[in-house]
């Protein structure tokens, strides 16, 4: 994950260097590329560009990654919708980045999250069934995580659902309406990976969170765009849990732990939406998905 995130966040003078950035492209002094043989600390050390100066098909992704490289701890700045970008595109790129960075969580998990230690995908009394199979079933936690990540990556990479990643606000062809439902389904499922890691592999979770602030960022994003129903957010997120300093969430309301009645009520709603998403997904082979309450361990 270090390739996105600077070990030492770049000084603010660099972040404001929009003019300087455009100058660099023309003057050809430092190109934004990796040179084989470079030291790790020299990789991705290219000057920041203003969004409008990034002239590529992946400008939004580049801009997001650039924000993260500059200061991944400044969640609000990373989440804030940049001017001129479609909100859906912004969500989409964030989810892509989430999937991308979750790839780096797996190596930390797979040593301790095995079929023996976690034969079921559980988090704080919830049992999640894996939607990647023709018939949803209970997978070991690591399978669930890998399958969910694989499925989400495939879906996000599928140009049928997400044909364009450009920022082009005047055209507004960005993301087709039906595909927006997938974003929510993806977000809801990916959240469970965090939940499982938090409740069962706290150490790995904390380590990862400290390096990436990924959960905090994800939480903020899903709140802002209501990607996940609040009742499903089961990880207690106080300021001392996920954010060490300045950028604590504006409303750090800790959700009360779910009562058994509230979870039961949640099931049908969750099932419905995800079923719709799965039908739309078509070849994604994601069947209906259920969150079932089980007895606490």
């Amino acid at each position: 994950m270090q390739n996105f995130i600077n070990r030492s966040p770049i000084q603010p003078t660099m972040t404001t260097a929009a003019v300087e950035g455009s100058a660099t492209t023309t003057s050809n002094t430092q190109l934004r590329r990796l040179y084989p043989g470079s030291h790790v600390e020299d990789t991705f050390q290219w000057p920041a560009l203003a969004l409008d100066d990034i002239e590529s098909s992946f400008s939004v992704q580049e801009y997001l990654q650039q924000l993260l490289r500059e200061d991944y701890t400044d969640i609000q700045r990373v989440i804030d919708l940049p001017e001129g970008i479609d909100a859906e595109i912004w969500q989409y790129e964030h989810l892509r980045q989430l999937c991308l960075q979750l790839n780096y969580l797996i190596p930390g998990l797979d040593s301790e999250c095995t079929i023996d230690s976690c034969p079921e995908m559980k988090a704080d009394g919830w049992l999640y069934l894996c939607a990647a199979h023709p018939v949803t079933k209970s997978c070991p936690a690591i399978d669930y995580i890998v399958h969910t990540l694989d499925g989400a990556t495939m879906l996000l990479n599928n140009s049928k659902y997400f044909p364009s990643r450009r920022k082009i606000p005047p055209l507004r062809i960005s993301i087709p309406e039906p595909s927006l439902k997938h974003l929510q389904a993806i977000a809801r499922r990916l959240y469970r990976i965090f939940a499982h890691a938090y409740f069962h592999h706290r150490e790995a979770f904390e380590f990862f969170e400290n390096e990436t602030y990924l959960h905090s960022r994800f939480l903020r994003l899903s709140k802002k765009y209501s990607l996940i129903p609040k009742s499903l957010l089961i990880i207690p997120h106080s300021s001392d849990d996920d954010e060490p300093a300045s950028n604590s969430p504006t409303s750090p309301a800790i959700l009360s732990r779910r009562s058994s009645t509230s979870t039961v009520q949640e099931i049908p709603g969750d099932t419905d939406t995800s079923t719709i998403g799965a039908e739309e997904a078509g070849d994604e082979t994601q069947g209906s998905e259920k969150a079932e309450p089980v007895d606490d361990e």
């Binding site: 590329r33 084989p36 030291h39 790790v40």
Partner: protein, 764 residues
């Protein structure tokens, strides 16, 4: 007619056999009917109407009868055709058996055996070879003699009773078999209208079928197409007299006779003239009928026989086609001791006759010429079609492969830049490593199969990976599949090399996570690993892997061991250990490759554009190619990629400053141990990032940050660009990041900053 009375009318009624023309009298009879009181007008009218109806009915009946007869005729004709067909098949079978026998004999003869065995063999051959003649001549010899004026050889051969009985037995067994086969093909066509299209179709089916199939399956395959064959046979029959269907086989057995002779001639050790009865017969036979038509006939039948033989023989395909005609001409020349010119003329004549025959009128069917041609027609056109086939096949092949260059077949997506792609050595498996920290395996074969099922509709659609490996904690820089070990190696910015087990072939996309696939990390480098290479063969009892890292070292790993993996580590100056600080300032290796001309040598490119060739075992620097004087030790002039030519002592480097350079490492100054640049070309509009050479060593492919892939013909001295292809979109300032040819199959794969892995079918 006007005088006709009602009586006559009544007479007609009684006779009731007059033709309908008389109905025209009805109006003229009308006034007469009034005169006679017995006949009232309505009565007469009624009568006339009745009459007319009767006539109509009768006429209808006749027509129905006629149609019935026609149908019966058609049925009988169909039956006859069926029989003719059976005979044809039977003939084919006989030919086939004959051929097999001949082959056996040839095999026998080719064995260096004693003379006595040869003579014995010769004897049996003289007994066997007249087989086709005897049974045939027994059935049709009278006809043959009268119509074809065939040489007395046929009559003479009748004497051979032993052979006759034997052949008859053979024939009987064949007949039985064919009857069995033909029973199922009872559906006979009733139509009598045949188009030449049918015939062509028939010919095609038979020729195609027989080309590919074994002797046995050939006849079966022809039987499989009863309707078409029947039609074709019927056409032949119609062109001939129906009753002398037997004569259709005359040329064939004639040919077999000739061929027996010919084969004998072809024997490496010629038998004695005295024993060689068939050849003498044919030799005698032809001079008797110096008639040119007969000779043409012979020529054609020989040709036909050859074609048939070739058809029977799956091995001698269309390649023989060219030499065949020459061979034919030679044979004929030899046989008739004619000049080459004359033979050519004969052949031409024969051809012309065949062409004439296509338009030949039915009236000439009784003439010998017409008959000969008729008989020739099927097999000859067959031969022509076959020729056309053998011509068109390479044409098609060429057309397909003339599509020079690349056809994008598949795209595969990562979440971020794809830094490296690699093919499996044998299978159509692609591994790709990306900045998203994953390595994905893509099965190209499955996607192609899916493509053909979906009628290539979605040839540009994305495919899902069969497995995603997660384990690196930073971007993956290089992947390579080891087909032998069934493993995948990957290096990353996180300074580790990881080894993965390839998934089982039947892995489903969402099978349980198997952490056992993650075999081991190679930990030893202290900085990003940018390139590594697996050696194709073992050196000193272990299979090495060489890696180049930003920590300044090249390390050799033992991929077969499980304990101490690291074998050796070389810095810029070789094996000598230097203190860490100094090493930090030395040029870093950027890329490496194994010299295919000497698999113990490893070429390493450094950032200052110096290339060093190491001996893998000793770690000594075998050769140094000095740095380009214009290059400083910066990343802007560095070598991004080095590849060694698969067959020549040639190193090719791709530079950040858009150049591709060629180095000859053979013409090296042995004292100075330096090499020189042979050729430099400005290859891309931006830095060259990726290089690969196809297994034949003719084509170089390069990819650059300009997003294009270029193919270079490096077999010529000009090293011209054969094709350019815009392959990947740029992300940041990066474009194409990796290209690789498949080692065996015509495929190319590329990975780029846009996160897409593209597979191409190429034609180089």
């Amino acid at each position: 007619m006007m005088q006709q009375s009602p009586q006559s009318n009544q007479q007609r009624l009684l006779n009731g056999r007059d033709n309908a023309m008389k109905d025209a009298n009805i109006p003229s009879n009308f006034p007469l009917a009034i005169q006679s009181p017995e006949y009232t007008l309505p009565g007469v009218l009624h009568f006339l109407q009745q009459e007319w109806r009767r006539f109509e009915r009768e006429r209808n009946e006749w027509e129905i009868e006629k149609a019935e007869y026609k149908a019966r005729i058609a049925l009988l004709e169909g039956e006859r055709r069926g029989f003719a067909n059976l005979k044809l098949d039977l003939m084919k079978r006989v030919k086939m058996l004959e051929y097999a026998l001949r082959q056996e004999r040839k095999k026998y003869m080719n064995n260096p055996k004693t003379r006595s065995i040869q003579q014995q063999e010769e004897l049996t051959r003289t007994v066997d070879s007249p087989n086709p003649r005897t049974w045939d001549s027994q059935d049709a010899s009278v006809k043959l003699e009268s119509q074809e004026k065939l040489p007395p050889a046929f009559v003479a051969s009748q004497i051979d009773d032993k052979a006759k009985t034997r052949s008859r037995e053979l024939l009987k067994s064949c007949l039985k078999e064919i009857n069995q086969l033909a029973l199922s093909t009872s559906k006979l066509p009733y139509t009598t209208a045949f188009t030449s299209g049918f015939q062509n179709q028939y010919i095609k089916t038979t020729s195609q079928g027989s080309q590919d199939m074994q002797h046995d399956s050939e006849s079966i395959s022809t039987l499989k197409d009863p309707s078409e064959e029947n039609k074709a046979a019927a056409k032949r029959q119609i062109q001939k007299q129906p009753d002398d269907s037997m004569s259709s086989f005359i040329p064939q057995h004639n040919t077999s006779l000739l061929q027996d002779g010919k084969n004998e001639r072809a024997q490496p050790q010629k038998a004695d003239k005295d024993n060689d009865i068939p050849s003498t017969i044919s030799d005698v036979e032809v001079p008797d009928n110096v008639d040119e038509v007969a000779m043409i006939n012979n020529v054609i039948t020989i040709a036909k026989e050859r074609k048939q033989r070739d058809q029977c023989n799956p091995g001698s395909g269309s390649r023989k086609g060219l030499s065949e005609e020459e061979q034919l001409a030679k044979d004929v020349q030899e046989k008739y001791s004619l000049s080459a010119d004359k033979v050519r003329k004969l052949l031409k004549n024969a051809e012309r006759l065949i062409h004439q025959e296509n338009n030949i009128p039915m009236s000439s069917k009784d003439s010998l010429l017409g008959k000969v041609d008729n008989l020739k027609l099927p097999s000859e056109t067959e031969a022509e079609v076959e020729d056309a086939d053998s011509e068109s096949r390479p044409k098609m092949w060429r057309a397909k492969h003339n599509l020079r260059g690349l056809t994008v077949v598949r795209r595969h997506r990562h979440l971020d830049c794809v830094r490296s792609v690699s093919f499996h050595a044998n299978d159509l498996l692609i591994a790709s490593g990306s900045d998203d920290g994953t390595i994905k395996i893509w099965d190209l074969k499955n996607s192609i199969v899916k493509d053909s099922v979906m009628q290539k509709k979605s040839s540009h659609e994305e495919m899902d990976p069969i497995i995603t490996y997660r384990g690196h904690t930073m971007g993956v820089t290089k992947v390579e599949i080891s087909a032998e070990q069934g493993r995948l190696y990957s290096s990353s910015l996180d300074s580790t090399i990881r080894v993965w087990q390839l998934p089982p072939a039947d892995k489903s996309p969402y099978s349980p996570y198997d952490s056992a696939l993650n075999i081991a990390p190679y930990i030893g480098h202290t900085d990003a690993i940018w390139d590594f290479k697996l050696f194709p063969t073992a050196i000193a009892d272990y299979l090495p892997l060489a890696s180049a890292s930003a920590d300044g070292t090249v390390k050799i790993w033992d991929t077969s061991a499980s304990g101490n993996l690291l074998k050796s580590s070389w810095s810029y100056n070789g094996v000598i250990d230097e203190d860490q600080e100094q090493q930090r300032n030395l040029p870093v290796p950027t890329s490496l490759d194994i010299c295919h001309t000497n698999l113990r040598q490893l070429a390493v490119a450094y950032r200052n554009t110096e290339i060093k060739v190491f001996d893998v075992e000793t770690g000594q620097i075998v050769l140094t190619i000095p740095a380009d004087p214009s290059a400083d030790n910066s990343c802007f002039t560095q070598i991004n990629k080095i590849v060694a030519h698969p067959t020549l002592p040639l190193l090719i480097t791709g530079h950040e400053n858009k150049l591709i350079k060629f180095y000859d490492i053979n013409t090296v100054d042995t004292i100075e141990r330096t090499g020189n640049s042979v050729f430099t070309m400005s290859a891309h509009l931006d830095g060259v990032t990726a290089l690969d050479i196809d297994p034949s060593g003719i084509t170089l492919v390069s990819g650059g940050h300009d997003g294009s892939i270029r193919l270079w013909d490096i077999s010529s001295t000009s090293r011209s660009c054969v094709q350019e292809y815009t392959a990947h979109r740029r992300k940041a300032d990066e474009g194409v990041l990796s290209v690789q040819f498949h080692k065996e199959l015509p495929w190319l794969v590329s990975g780029g900053a846009d996160g897409i892995v593209k597979a191409y079918h190429h034609s180089i």
